[in-house]
């Protein structure tokens, strides 16, 4: 069984929801980024999402765009991200999933990417610009290696289509909370609870909700509806605010992620 499935099995037993954190690999530097990932794992993060930078991240809002630019400016490459994962794997067993755009994977070579990712210790991947219709070739390669292609659904996804995507998605289903790009929002989308409730009836796989989650309170609210909450931009904002004090970043994120993990884990499954 892969690490993602194991994690959800454990959480189910403990009647807990998953706390998933996103950071961009290499932002602000590789050593700091690796330290942040370790901090996240220590503070109860169940799955770590590692962004592999792409020059044209069209599903991302300003915060992640800037993180990606910072990482690219530092000379980030796919190989360097794999090296970071290898190093993390020697220290932690937290599931690590990539989040990147299809051109990065396509350019690296689909099969080679999956093999190298797997070898480095990564467990899966999220590709926001690879919809179900275009995913066939990559999915069969990933499936053969037991590398999870985690697929996305959105508020605009009709029920029948959701069922199809859910049946193909591995690890969990990444449900986008709103029609828009990544980035924190002041309030949780009003239709979200109702929507997720409907979707829960269509699949047995875990549904995790991301996009727009700004803090512990929202995370707690959302965690009641689904199986996991994904927080990205809110964490990256701490990096952004402390670029001149890189040494302090991991410590500050530690405080924040502890609160988030507690907010998400605290809720008993109803």
């Amino acid at each position: 069984m892969n690490r993602i499935d194991e994690t959800f099995r454990r959480l189910r037993k403990e009647k807990k929801k998953a706390f998933i954190a996103y950071i961009t690999a290499g932002d602000p530097t590789f050593p700091v980024s690796e330290k942040i990932a370790l901090t996240l794992a220590e503070t109860g993060t169940d799955i770590i999402e590692l962004g592999i930078p792409f020059s044209d991240p069209l599903a991302d809002g300003p915060t992640i765009q800037k993180a990606v630019q910072r990482s690219l400016k530092n000379g980030c490459t796919v190989k360097k991200v794999f090296t970071m994962v290898k190093s993390l794997r020697r220290k932690i067993q937290t599931p690590l999933v990539f989040m990147t755009y299809y051109n990065i994977v396509y350019n690296y070579g689909l099969e080679k990417f999956v093999k190298d990712a797997k070898k480095s210790g990564a467990d899966g991947i999220i590709i926001p610009d690879l919809p179900m219709e275009e995913s066939g070739e990559f999915k069969s390669i990933a499936d053969a290696e037991d590398f999870c292609l985690i697929m996305l659904t959105a508020p605009t996804t009709p029920a029948e289509r959701f069922r199809k995507i859910a049946s193909k998605s591995r690890g969990f289903i990444y449900h986008v909370s709103l029609t828009g790009v990544t980035g924190t929002r002041d309030a949780v989308n009003t239709g979200l609870a109702k929507n997720v409730q409907k979707l829960k009836k269509l699949t047995k796989k875990p549904i995790c909700v991301g996009f727009g989650v700004s803090g512990a309170e929202q995370a707690k609210k959302i965690s009641r509806m689904c199986d996991g909450v994904i927080v990205g931009s809110a964490i990256i904002k701490i990096i952004e605010k402390n670029l001149n004090r890189k040494k302090d970043i991991a410590g500050k994120i530690k405080v924040f992620s502890k609160t988030l993990a507690k907010a998400v884990h605290g809720e008993e499954r109803s």
Partner: protein, 393 residues
Amino acid sequence: MQKVPDRNGYFGDFGGRYVPETLMPAVKELTEAYSKICGTRSFKEKLEYYLEEYAGRPTPLYYAEKLTRKFGKAKIYLKREDLLHTGAHKINNTIGQALLAVEMGKKRLIAETGAGQHGVATATVAALFGLKCDVYMGEEDIRRQSLNVFRMKLLGTKVIPVSSGSKTLKDAMNEAIRDWVTNAADTHYVIGSVAGPHPYPMMVRDFQEVIGIETKVQLKMAGEKGPTHLLACVGGGSNAMGLFYPFAEDKKVKFIGVEAAGFGANTPHHAIALGKGKVGILHGSKSFLLEDDDGQIKLAHSVSAGLDYPGVGPEHSYYKMIKRAEYVSVKDKEALEGVRMLSEIEGIIPALETAHAIYYLNKLAPKTAKKDIIVVCLSGRGDKDIDIMKEHM
């Protein structure tokens, strides 16, 4: 030749729909609406009405006698898209898409623009059909094309500066897609070239094929047998595809697309996606593009803002692979020579984009025979580029 694209939007190996899940329903809705509405008589009549009465179609197919004499070989005809309202072929497409948006009940148009020509053409139809309009434009291009920025504002459009990435067309397109992801329910995204996710490459081609269809009829009326060479510039490639497509089955007709070589094909500063790029995925489709070893999109360079784009429409990639078209390139300096040549010989100041195709006549015409016929798509007029021309000439 097999009919392309297939139902998934593929031209051979190229095209498709690489968009976020949030947009898939919008893209499918558009595909359905396009196939349902655009074939109806009432839509066709409306489109024809606005193309004729408002935009000024048909455009002349002008026999460039002096230019022909200069080379003393093939007869050279110019398809005068520069004479259209707003000064370029872009309006053929924006009228079509705006009419479709109205039929679909959309209240707002968004667009990306580089040189500003497509932005102006979208702002124009938004005013005409009473739609709200926001145009995304890179900060760098806003600086370079201030005249077009003012035109758009005058037409009631909001020009939204894009400061991310390279601050040019590619980033404007990213930002327009982000807006569309957020607002697809009431907003239609007017893509300006034969690029983007299916159905755009097909739809924009269909709205532009009027260029080639008219050319066919006009040549016949001029007593010619038909063209032997079709010549057009290629950025995204909509004017070229519009001219080429109606002749796709006629193997006697050679297609030549001219990409922008910027400072030179062997420098890092060019926009030769077909000639020097690799296959990849950008802005919703699989096609040739300029990228580095790690798959990061490279910045393109061209003196002409309309060709300053690292990708190209998927149907051109298909034409390259099946060898239906030949793709060549022309440098900044040569394009400027092309401007001078057409201005002095025929009294027509072409857009910098178009000037790439014009300059290539120097290479192509001498290799032709007297019985041959070259048609050049004169895609736009040069007024918008006057400042840049002044700077360089």
